[in-house]
Every structure is written in C-alpha cells, then in structure tokens.
Symmetry: C2
Subunit: 259 residues, 2 copies
DNA sequence: CGGCTCGTTGATCAACCTCAATCAGTGTGG
DNA sequence: CCACACTGATTGAGGTTGATCAACGAGCCG
C-alpha cells in the first residue's frame, strides 16, 4: 500500500493535458444508465435455482461446470486463495450480478464463489448463453454490459489496492459499496444500508489485514465520516469521505440515477 | 504489499476442501482455446485505422467517444492517475486486445489508453458493436470472450497487488506477460520475447515504486531466474519462477496451446 | 558535448504487518 | 438460567517490507 509514489511520467509527458482538468465533471453529464434487465434473463433462461447457505461455496476455483449463475438474492464473494492461505477477494456479487462465465464448459473456474449471507442464484447453462449470443437479442447487450461492469469494478479495486493508502482505500471502498447497494435498491438514500461484510472481508478485498482495517475504520468513525457497525453502513459525510478517498464526489452521487 | 497475512477463514471453514488439493492440475486438462478471431472483426467492421505514437494517448479518462478500438500492432497501457500524480496501470493492451467498450457513447472513458510503443488500432463504432450483438453472430461470442479475458487478467493483477510480496508479484507478472506475448505470437518458445516496459511501468502495474522493482528484478536476475534488459525478457527457469510466484507451473505452460 | 531517460545503489523512514491479549455479542447445551 | 464456545472487533508493542530521498552511471540523440 503506497503512500505517495508519484511517477515521473507526469512531468515527462507535457503533451498530456492535466488530469485534474480532464476529469473535472465531464461535459456529457450522462445519467448513469442501468443495465438491461438481467433478472429477465434469469427468469426466462434459467434451468433452475439454487440456494447457498451463508459461508458455503457456490463453486470453487478449479472446478468445471456447465453453468453460470445470476444472483437473485444475498451477497457472495469471489475470491482466490494462495497456497499458504492468503486470500484476495476479487469482487462482491450482489443481486443482479452474473457469475462464472467461461468460454467453454470445460474451462475450470478461476476463482471461488462463496456466500456471505444466505443467497439464491439462478442457474443458466453456458450453452444457453452461447445460443443467446449467436442468435442475437438484447440479452447479448445486457450480458456484455454485466461483464464490462465487472471489469470496471475490478479496475476500481486495483486502483484502491495498488495506489491508495489504507485510509484512502477504505474510504473509497465504502463509497463504492454504498453506491452499489443504493443502485441495486434504486434508493438514493442518505440512510444506512445493509452491510454484511466483516473487517476481514474488507481487508481481503483491499490487501490489508483485518487489524489494520479495524484501526482505519475507527479513525474514519472518530472523524465523523461513517458509521459501520452490526451489519450496517451509513455514510455521514459523502463529500468529506470522497475527499479522503482522493476521489470526486460526483462519481458517487447517484441523485441522477434515473433510467 | 503483504507478507503473509493468512486469513483465519481457512481454519474457520473446515467444510471447504483444501485449496491446494482443489487446485492441483484440474482433471479437465482442457487446452487453452484461443479467442474467436478478433482481427477478423477489426477487418470487417472497422470504420478506420489510427496510428498512435509512442507516449501519446489513444484516449483519455473523462473523454467521450463513439468508438472502441482493437489493437492491431504495438503495446498500450490502460491507466488511471490520482489527483496527486500516483498512477495505477490497469492493463496492458497487446495486439488483439479490445479497448474502450462502454454501454453508450455518452459514457466517458474511465481510464486512459497510452501507447508504450508506436501502435496501430482499428476504430470501430460503438453502434456497430450494438448491431453485431443485437443481430447475433459469432462475433458476439468473440467480444464477450475478450471482455472476460480482460476481467480474468484484472483478477490476476489484483491478486498480485493485494496479496503477493514484491518478489512474488514481479515473478508472477513476468510469467503472465510472457504467456500473453507467447500466446499472441503462437510461439511456445523458451526464447526471449520483446518486452518494451520500463521498471516504472512494472511498478505502476504492481503498486510498487520503480526503485523497488529495480531491486526486485536484480534479485531475480542474481538468482538466475530471468534476464530482463534492453527491451527483452527471457525466463530462464519457468518452474523456479512459478515457485517464487507462489503459482503453479501449468498455469503458464502453453505447450498445450492448440486450437 | 549537453541533455534526457532509464536503471542502479545507498541510507533512512514510515505504513502496515505480526503477535498477543482482551472484550462484546451470540448461540448452545446442560 | 448460566457456563462455555465461538466469531468478530479492539487495542498495544514491536518488527519488516517497501517507500522516500538522493546521487550517480549508462545509453541515446540532436
């Protein structure tokens, strides 16, 4: 976790416009559009449903399977574990997430999906996905958008882990999770949200230890920025938290959710 | 960058099978299949081509555009820069990579694409992608696979940055890049490959400073594992390097490339 | 030759890890 | 109802990885 390694390429590339200027609230103030309805795909194309108890696995790294999954309810984590037990959480899957796509049924999963809360998923045969793509439909667009959303989420996580301090990373992480939950619920709320993650989950997502997450959260709490306790999260000052995260408020401002 | 924070969930979840056992060379020894031919899409659907000089940008974070791009030649980096200049490299784009997909043309890019070497890209209108997906074709599958490959690459990077030490991360990074280049070239070779990245690029990809990358590479060199110099990379002992990376050799063993 | 980028090496420092103990909350069986 | 176990959160003390600051060398180019 870096403190402030400022790469010299900035000075070295005078042609590049200033990043800050470039980023400043893009002219095209496009409302964030929602995905096409992935739940409709789950309804229409699932071969079945599956319940996953909290703490147990939907699928594991190295397994092969003919299916992919769409989360209908609950939270899951996608993670990978190194030989000596270190764990990296790659993503959190909330309702509406599509999980476990692979090019072919005989390519094994490259990560494990484990339920954090009790969860329910729709099971969709990979062959069905191929059909949908090959024959064409607006499903294809929805599926691609789901994949792209996951990619952008991974990029956010990578930036948190690679180039933000623990305090910045945790602040940014809370904003991101808050945004995801509120989008899902289509609530813009300043209210508290359900937040079933332990400090160990947060640490394993951000490349930190649970102990250090604890200290960091305590500090953010003491500064009056957030409330995190007993499975709930409330962001008290979104602007201040975005400042701490080294991010722009508008990235997390879903007033203009729409669509 | 962690040393060995071993999350307690291992002990706590006796139901979960041992990760090592689970990972051990998957039964389905499926040959890694190549993408559908993304170059064919570039040929058939591009509205034009564009040359990008080394060090200049193909597009920048915050810009909007009607296009996506497919790399025909050269290397690019995808990165994001924080307000104070810290940079995170999100991915490297080699020939065959698809860049810049967004759900709609008015959604701005969320990262910058900059050429490392001189590069040539095919320009494809987003509307064309929508058509392909809506009308259906095997292109749809190819595009989804490209997105999924990018996602898995991001997951690899996330694991390197979050849970591997500098030495492990650099070792794993070199193996990953080596695999990508060799897949692209369809060469299985034990030979040296073109490797136009600076130590600062490696650092910005792995959340390290260029100085520490230098020390780490020196150590790997001194141990007879790799040669990295003057724009070329040669892995001298893939097995040993995979051991250093805390990874399995077969992940990087492309003897069975095929398809 | 001067200027520039990139790589290398040394000395010091701090962010975050490790180990360890304690506590609160929850569930469980007697 | 209570002792007990267990998970998750908290706090302290000390250690280590990797950052920072700085100087210098090698290669390249106009």
């Amino acid at each position: 976790m870096a403190t402030a390694q400022i790469s010299s390429h900035i000075r070295n590339n005078p042609a590049a416009p200033s990043n800050v200027v470039r980023l400043g609230r893009p002219a095209s103030q496009a409302p964030a559009r929602r995905n096409g309805d992935i739940f409709a795909i789950a309804r229409e194309h699932a071969s079945g449903r599956r319940l996953v108890a909290a703490g147990s696995e939907l699928f594991a790294e190295g397994e092969a399977s003919d299916n992919i999954y769409i989360v209908l309810d609950g939270w899951l984590i996608l993670h990978r574990i190194l030989a000596d037990g270190r764990r990296q959480i790659l993503d959190f899957a909330l309702p509406g997430a599509a999980l476990g796509y692979r090019a072919h049924a005989d390519v094994p999963f490259s990560f494990t999906a484990e339920a954090v809360t009790g969860a329910e998923v729709a099971v969709i045969p990979l062959s069905r996905i191929s059909q949908l793509l090959y024959r064409g439909s607006d499903c294809a667009m929805t599926i691609l958008e789901a994949a792209n959303d996951a990619l952008l989420g991974a990029f956010d996580a990578l930036t948190d882990v690679g180039r933000r301090s623990a305090r910045e990373a945790v602040a940014h992480f809370l904003l991101r999770m808050n945004r995801r939950v509120q989008r899902m619920a289509k609530s813009d709320g300043g209210g508290s949200i359900r937040f079933p993650l332990t400090q160990e989950h947060i640490g394993d997502a951000l490349g930190l230890t649970a102990v250090h997450v604890c200290r960091t959260l305590s500090a953010l709490r003491a500064d009056g920025l957030v409330e995190v306790a007993r499975g709930r999260l409330r962001i008290l000052d979104k602007q201040a938290l975005a400042d701490e995260a080294g991010a722009f408020l508008f990235e997390f401002d879903d007033a203009r959710l729409a669509s």
